[in-house]
Amino acid sequence: MATKVGYNTVIKTSGASTGMTTEAMTGAGAGPYQLNTAAKRILDRDVLPTFEDNGTPIVGADISVIDYMTGKVTFTGSKTGPITMATGSYMPMTIVAQAHTASISHAGEVLDVTDFVLAQADAFHVRVSGLRDVTVTIGRWEDLSDTFVTIIQAGLPIVIEFRPGGSTKSFRLWAVLETEDQSGDVDGLEQDDLTFLLDGDDEILKSYSFDT
């Protein structure tokens, strides 16, 4: 049993997109191949990376899927190797300062599709899954750094990496800072509570992923 103590939780947010060239990757066959450098595995979803197979550029048609959140690429067919990411951009991540509570909620709309035929079979509601959504909440001690005030005023999405209880398995998502609430009582510490909402994209692996 691999339960986790809460104090080992790691939660990070992204900085400015940073370019990179000729980055080594590890994999076999058609993939997936993953960037060797862990700190560069969260890719800027607005920058299309390019790849080379033993120094030869790989055409876009040979790419099956790119997981921007874990730095992986899978090809339509087997490659000779070594595979490198010729060009791309990654999101550098830094730990959220003074955080002491964190949660990630995966929600899903549940749509009722019950009709007369289905209901007459067993009189139970029948449902299918609708839109999915993710919410991240972070509670931190206020430090007047204005880091998140700047983010919320800019209104731009950032990347969040959440490792519950210090797990080796991360959840990563692009999210928009919805609220930042600063509060404090006379007998306590000033608190800064943040709520982020998933910002999806035209491909799920551009905006959300998790390690299995």
Partner: protein
Amino acid sequence: MATIPAHTKVVDIDSNPLPGNSSSLAHGGEVLDDTNFASAGFHTRLSGLRDWTLQASGPYDDADTATVALSTKWLSGAVIAVEYKPDGTNGFGGNAIISDFTLSGDVDGMETFSLTAEGAGALAAVP
């Protein structure tokens, strides 16, 4: 009287036990009011469509098969096969859709999970 200590409970997700320490199965249903003037001053009712909801929570184990499956099934929108067995063997089961799967933890506590899944069809006795 056959009482059941709750620690014997087993909640299976896709045939794998979920490592929770609290769970509940709510059997519900629509109750349709068909009261009319001839109802002698009392409401009269009929049973409509039935419904059910599973809730579970406990310590988060990132290596647990059932827990890992929850993330995968939530992402794909696929149903999970649920079995709720208060004595570890007998209970109820059916397919459900994950409406909420939350991981949370404070600096001074355990990392925990909570799950809410809504019935996607019939709930039947197991085994």
